[in-house]
Symmetry: C2
Subunit: 190 residues, 2 copies
Amino acid sequence: MEQLKQKIRSEGIVLSDKVLKVDAFLNHQIDPHLMQQIGHEFARRFRDAGITRIVTIEASGIAPAVMAGLELGVPVIFARKHQSLTLNDNLLTASVYSFTKQVESTIAISTQHLSSADRVLIIDDFLANGKAAQGLIEIIRKAGASIAGLGIVIEKSFQAGRRELENAGYRVESLARVQALRDGQVFFID
Amino acid sequence: MEQLKQKIRSEGIVLSDKVLKVDAFLNHQIDPHLMQQIGHEFARRFRDAGITRIVTIEASGIAPAVMAGLELGVPVIFARKHQSLTLNDNLLTASVYSFTKQVESTIAISTQHLSSADRVLIIDDFLANGKAAQGLIEIIRKAGASIAGLGIVIEKSFQAGRRELENAGYRVESLARVQALRDGQVFFID
């Protein structure tokens, strides 16, 4: 997705050869117009996949997921990383290690909103080592729902996440695939 | 906003005389179409207020804020409740106590994205005692930006939040004002 790559080139900050900071339009400040176009692109790629629900994870997955849900006409569920008084019963959970935050956390979805009749599109902001995606997959499979694929805004292709997901048989659609972060620059696949 | 009130009546769950659970369309599962209409309504009410940025707080404020930002053509910033490797410099912070989660947390916004030239619309999912809103106001004022008002999806009018904000001179626009939660039912003002 060319517009996204341009935005990454102009506003992304390469913090190291592993870490790309996109707080200017995705992870802290959000560009709503870009999110709408990202949602449109996810919807285009998964239009015929029979999606009934989108599952993402708080917080940065929410904006692109809601825009895709609007286009596909389906509800969005965001997995919680933190407990709440109102989210307390019949939880499906998985344990996920975040390299960015350097903590192990439990992610949770209520059984209320996901069933074996559902066909799910997983959307997330980043795919790196794939730990968050695998946690979401574990939860969705516990609910008995099927998984149509994963829609990723930015993939760090030099980490193992995509390969492992594809080896497990999942379709992965990434809108920007980062081949390398080097000398303060972002190099894309293609 | 009649459609929102109908949704609360049909899908909201009254957990106690203080707690309304709307995990079916706002706090866990999100209804993207309803969020679009909420964004439209916030934009209508603040169209002439000179808004340059929307500020919200993760996670449930993001969907309505991004939809309002899309309509108003302005960026959205979400305050972080949890530290991240990529959000680490020049932070404006405030301490906020959450009654729902029963924890004190530090919320943070980077100085990168907010300046004295900004006129801010604060958007949040709930207004109860107003602690989150007051934390956001504190941060925005530290940045030197002005505040055009607050857009709230659901206000619990029987708690002190709105009154305190209005006493401090802020404009509060709530799309659904809950007068009372009683006998499992939701009673609205109007």
